[in-house]
């Protein structure tokens, strides 16, 4: 395996299943190999250093604080155009947020790579990439292309 994506879903369910099937250690071991790791939406919550609303366990593989369901319920789920800045240059990117978590704090080693509605919505520390939106629903492979180039 060259790279791993931890996808969206419900983080409470994912944690429950990670406990039941002993996935915490293998995921940390994968991250330790330095191969690229991408967490989207619930996946970002699992990779984060700290989780709020409510506080819950996470893998702590990227130094960010994440607030769950921060934009609201499904009623507040939204699509919008944001800015993706992969290598200094800025490109427009359509983004889909579903009951999305918010990146509320980035550690000193973490770089913001995209923004939307004045929030940082994508961040990277070393080989770990996280996004609060769903790149797979945007109809644009820009984020996945960037992720694969990290390897």
């Amino acid at each position: 395996m060259d790279a791993l994506i931890v996808p969206g879903g419900e983080s409470t369910t994912l944690i429950k299943l990670m406990d039941a099937f002993d996935l915490w250690a293998p995921l940390r071991e994968f991250a330790a190999t330095g191969k690229p790791l991408l967490g989207t939406c619930a996946g970002m919550i699992l990779l984060a250093g700290e989780v709020l609303n409510p506080p819950q366990r996470s893998l702590g593989l990227i130094d960010v604080t994440v607030e769950r369901n921060s934009y609201g319920r499904q009623r507040e789920s939204f699509e919008a155009d944001g800015t993706f800045s992969p290598d200094g240059e800025e490109v427009d990117l359509h983004m889909v947020f579903i009951r999305a978590p918010r990146l509320v704090q980035l550690g000193p080693e973490v770089r913001s790579l995209a923004s939307c509605r004045d929030d940082c919505v994508m961040a990277r520390q070393d080989q770990v990439l996280v996004a609060s939106f769903h790149p797979e629903l945007c109809g644009d492979p820009a984020v996945h292309r960037y992720f694969l180039a990290m390897g």
């Binding site: 969206g8 879903g9 419900e10 409470t12 369910t13 429950k16 299943l17 039941a20 099937f21 939406c41 619930a42 609303n53 409510p54 769950r68 369901n69 319920r73 499904q74 009623r75 507040e76 789920s77 939204f78 699509e79 919008a80 155009d81 889909v96 579903i98 009951r99 509605r117 769903h134 629903l137």
Partner: protein, 302 residues
């Protein structure tokens, strides 16, 4: 109403957002709950969502009377207790109940045959609301009619509250067979197929091309054991709804957890053995032959 923009090109209530939430629930279990305590048990067991309702289907069947949308206070209580999405049922055709649930902030609405229908001719125009809808079906034509009205998730009807999987199997197999048959048809045959199915032509063409529904396809109606969940997943369901099966069993927390693990690892018999052990009694089941036509819930909807 949908979709809306505030001038900064921010859109809510789009089809992509409605279907997107359903996509996030794939591989999971959605559990019927009637109060906050049950909702908490469901969330702790690993449910991806809970369905709020006044009475579980087996009680509706037993007690009779008109079954309506759950009370506002119950729903608020449940929404304040869990962080996972909360769904709720409305009566077929009762768009005012749906408007109320949308305003309350419910995440998904089930226009459900389990409640007493409010309209014997028309289902809700689901495009008119921002909140996404799930609807039941017994065959492909019914599934495509509901999608044509704006449903973003389809489930089998099965026979709710029966604890008997046979109807859900029948409905899932019927939908799958009918989709497979469409993929073998030539373009000139599709209009007649649409007429025979009673389904919108564009959706019939889409299914003929892709061999699958354009929205997630879940199973519901009669799931009572981890084995039932595995069976429906192996038959092609992408998630399962469990109604009376959990809270009408001996040990709801343990059974809920077991059904979650069985749904994730539906193809791993060793997991199925482990989670099926020492579960206590399942809910009592009903043999279909003992139900009169008028007692069936699945024949509601058109």
């Amino acid at each position: 109403m949908a979709p809306k923009s505030n001038g900064q090109s921010i859109e809510t209530g789009t089809l992509r957002l409605k279907t997107g939430l359903a996509e996030m629930l794939k591989g999971g279990v959605i559990m019927d709950v009637t109060d906050a305590d049950q909702a908490k048990i469901a969330e702790d067991a690993g449910a991806v969502s809970v369905m709020a309702l006044e009475r579980v289907p087996s009680d509706i069947r037993k007690e009779g009377g008109v079954a309506r949308m759950a009370s506002i206070s119950k729903m608020r209580e449940i929404m304040n207790t869990v962080t996972i999405p909360v769904m709720a049922k409305v009566r077929i055709g009762h768009f005012a109940e749906a408007q109320i649930l949308q305003t309350l902030g419910v995440d998904y609405v089930d226009e459900s045959e389990v409640l007493t229908p409010a309209d014997e001719h028309y289902h809700i125009d689901k495009f008119a609301l921002d909140v996404p809808f799930v609807c039941g079906c017994r065959n492909l034509g019914e599934a495509l009619r509901r999608i044509g009205e704006g449903a973003c998730m389809i489930r089998t009807k099965g026979e709710a509250g029966s604890g008997n999987i046979v109807e859900a199997v029948r409905h899932m197999r019927t939908v799958t067979d009918e989709m497979r048959r469409l993929t073998t048809r030539g373009p000139e045959q599709l209009m007649t197929a649409a007429k025979d199915l009673g389904a919108p032509y564009d959706l019939v063409r889409l299914v003929a091309e892709t061999g699958k529904l354009p929205v997630p396809n879940f199973a519901a109606g009669g799931i009572a054991t981890p084995a039932d969940a595995s069976l429906m997943m192996q038959l092609g369901a992408e998630s399962v709804f469990v109604g009376s099966g959990i809270f009408k069993s001996d040990d709801p927390a343990k059974r809920a957890e077991a059904i979650v693990e069985a749904t994730t690892h539906y193809e791993d018999p060793e997991v199925l053995v482990r989670v099926s052990e020492d579960l206590g009694e399942a809910m009592p089941g009903i043999e279909m032959g003992t139900l009169e036509e008028g007692q069936l819930l699945q024949t509601r909807g058109w």
